[in-house]
């Protein structure tokens, strides 16, 4: 597989919530080979380092990718000024390990905050056999609920303050779901505190679990070794790299820091 670096047309730009932007990019050569869980590395004008953004949805027929990002700092602020009809400079598709989907029939798919977008492509695969649990701070931050419903999945919305859906964390909702069904697999992306708890619950219930991690990146392709995360490999602690060895990891190999 080849990575591509290029300038691609932005077909549409939407604002989904405060400071959360949704771009659809025309890049058939990337869409053709991209997989759920992979990411694109976006050039922000005037900044040294690219911003890794997970792929939310892939349309191989139309040759498009959808990416959703939140303004977190100056670089993503510059990216938020990219306009419909303009070009975006990306390196893609990146991520040596995508979500492994094929061997499973039923899944619980969990996203926390801006960890929700990469779960859409996963949900599309499972359709009615998927249960999507999405968590957000509050009603104003909620995104993608219609998209998740459109996949056919059962959707459960949680907010920290109860202003939309159920009040509480995705982990509470997960425990509730697991009382009535045992999925073949759990997929999750979101803050590390959330992932850590999900991994514990998956282990307690003996369900395979795959998590997508985030770390500050340099090259995005696996050469510079900055995006290290602690893992166990062959019984030994190993600093894997989120860009190349991930971003998706099997839950049992990740060491979550206290």
């Amino acid at each position: 597989m080849k990575y591509k670096q290029g300038n691609y047309l932005i077909l549409s730009k939407k604002t989904l919530a405060k400071e959360i932007y949704d771009l659809t990019i025309l890049c058939p050569e990337v869409a053709e080979v991209a997989k759920a869980g992979q990411f694109v590395n976006v050039k922000a004008d005037g900044f040294m380092l690219r911003r890794p953004i997970s792929i939310c949805s892939i349309d191989k027929e139309k040759g498009t990718l959808r990416i959703i990002f939140e303004v977190r700092g100056e670089g993503t602020k510059v990216m938020s000024q990219l306009a419909e009809g303009g070009m975006i400079d990306i390196v893609a598709p990146l991520g040596g390990r995508a979500f492994k989907l094929d061997q499973y029939d039923t899944a619980v798919i969990i996203g926390g905050g801006i960890g929700n977008p990469p779960m859409l492509e996963v949900a599309k695969k499972f359709g009615e056999k998927g249960t999507v649990i999405s968590g957000f701070r509050n009603a104003a931050a909620v995104i993608l609920q219609e998209d998740f419903s459109a996949t056919g999945a059962e959707t459960i919305l949680c907010t920290d303050d109860g202003s939309a859906g159920k009040k509480g964390f995705v982990t509470d909702a997960l425990k509730e779901v697991l009382q009535t069904k045992k999925p073949d697999v759990i997929y999750a992306c979101g803050p590390n505190v959330m992932l850590r708890r999900i991994v514990e619950i998956a282990k307690e219930n003996d369900i395979p679990c795959q998590v997508s991690l985030e770390e500050r990146m340099g090259c995005g392709v696996g050469a510079c070794l900055v995006c290290a995360c602690r893992t166990i490999r062959n019984g030994e602690e190993y600093y894997a790299h989120v860009c190349k060895d991930g971003p998706v990891f099997n839950a049992q190999e990740v060491i979550f820091d206290d």
Partner: protein
């Protein structure tokens, strides 16, 4: 491709003077997705130590104005893995292979150099300037005595061309360059990263888990040009210039300061295609200026 970019550096033939810098390019495998490695003059591979190193805790990178800090801490699989797995692959790529080595002790440098001497690696670049490991590395590079000691040991351990990679975190880099020249270094490369620090003002924590790290990128370019100029004027051995080069114009400037080859690091992260763009730019520069060879510009700065 024209041979007008060709250069003999420390006795080794390079098809062009561009070398991706150690630590920014791994062992080349990742960038081969973008262009054939034969495009490059050479590759300075990831710094290799005597045994496997896990590196520092993350975060290992922080963005800075026009640059970045890193504190990888020499994560690498060790010299035996490099020789067995990576070097045979690299040797098929039709480019000069520069083994970059680092040690915590003088013995570790000796051991690695002895092992490499028995291989078909083209050249050894000796890192005495890594700011991210506590024991060794920079400890040797910041004094003339330390730099001399490691040069002498590596020189005795191998007949391969030896390039000493110098630290900018010193009072007088030209003195260090003269010291390594006196011990038989075939060339010098500079600058390694400048020691820096960023703090998250909300948490009062340094952004890097290692607290401090090495600054690279366009921010350091003027410092690198100045140091290359000073060193090139102080020694007779050739100089490989690096530090913040991101365009062909930067490369020309670095060569005018006195570098006959140059390395590219942080610019690869902003744009992985940087080497291809720089080589194309240099080919055009040679044509436009009717040069027989790009080396004609080396050290041609006309100081006031």
């Amino acid at each position: 491709m024209t041979d007008k970019l060709a250069v003999k550096f420390a006795g080794v033939d390079f098809k062009n003077p561009l070398i991706p810098a150690s630590g920014a390019f791994g062992y080349g495998r990742e960038f081969e997705h973008f262009y054939p490695l034969s495009t490059l003059g050479g590759i300075s591979v990831k710094g290799t130590t005597g045994t496997k190193r896990n590196g520092n805790l993350p975060p290992r990178i922080a963005e800075t104005p026009s640059g970045m800090l890193n504190s990888v801490g020499l994560q690498n699989p060790g010299i035996d893995h490099f020789i067995k797995i990576e070097l045979p692959n690299l040797k098929t790529k039709d480019t000069v292979i520069v083994a970059n080595i680092a040690g915590s002790t003088a013995d570790e440098y000796r051991e690695i150099a002895e092992k490499l001497d028995k291989t078909d690696v083209d050249m050894i670049e000796v890192n005495i300037s890594c700011p991210n490991v506590k024991a060794g590395g920079a400890a040797f590079g910041v004094t003339c005595e330390g730099a001399s000691q490691i040069t002498k040991i590596v020189r005795a351990a191998t007949s391969k061309p030896v390039v000493m990679k110098l630290s900018p975190n010193v009072t007088n880099i030209a003195e260090i360059a003269k010291a390594v020249e006196a011990e038989g270094a075939d060339a010098v490369s500079l600058i390694n990263t400048l020691l820096g620090m960023r703090i998250d003002i909300k948490t009062r924590r340094p952004i890097l888990h290692n607290n401090v790290g090495g600054l690279s990128g366009p921010a350091v370019f003027p410092v690198a040009v100045r140091m290359v100029w000073q060193v090139a004027n102080a020694v007779k051995i050739p100089v490989c210039g690096m530090g913040g080069i991101s365009t062909w114009q930067d490369a020309v400037e670095m060569m005018m300061a006195g570098a006959s080859t140059f390395q590219i690091g942080a610019a690869l992260f902003a744009d992985p295609m940087t080497p291809v763009k720089i080589i194309e730019g240099l080919e055009k520069y040679v044509q436009d200026n009717k040069l027989n060879n790009l080396q004609e510009i080396v050290g041609t700065v006309k100081p006031w």
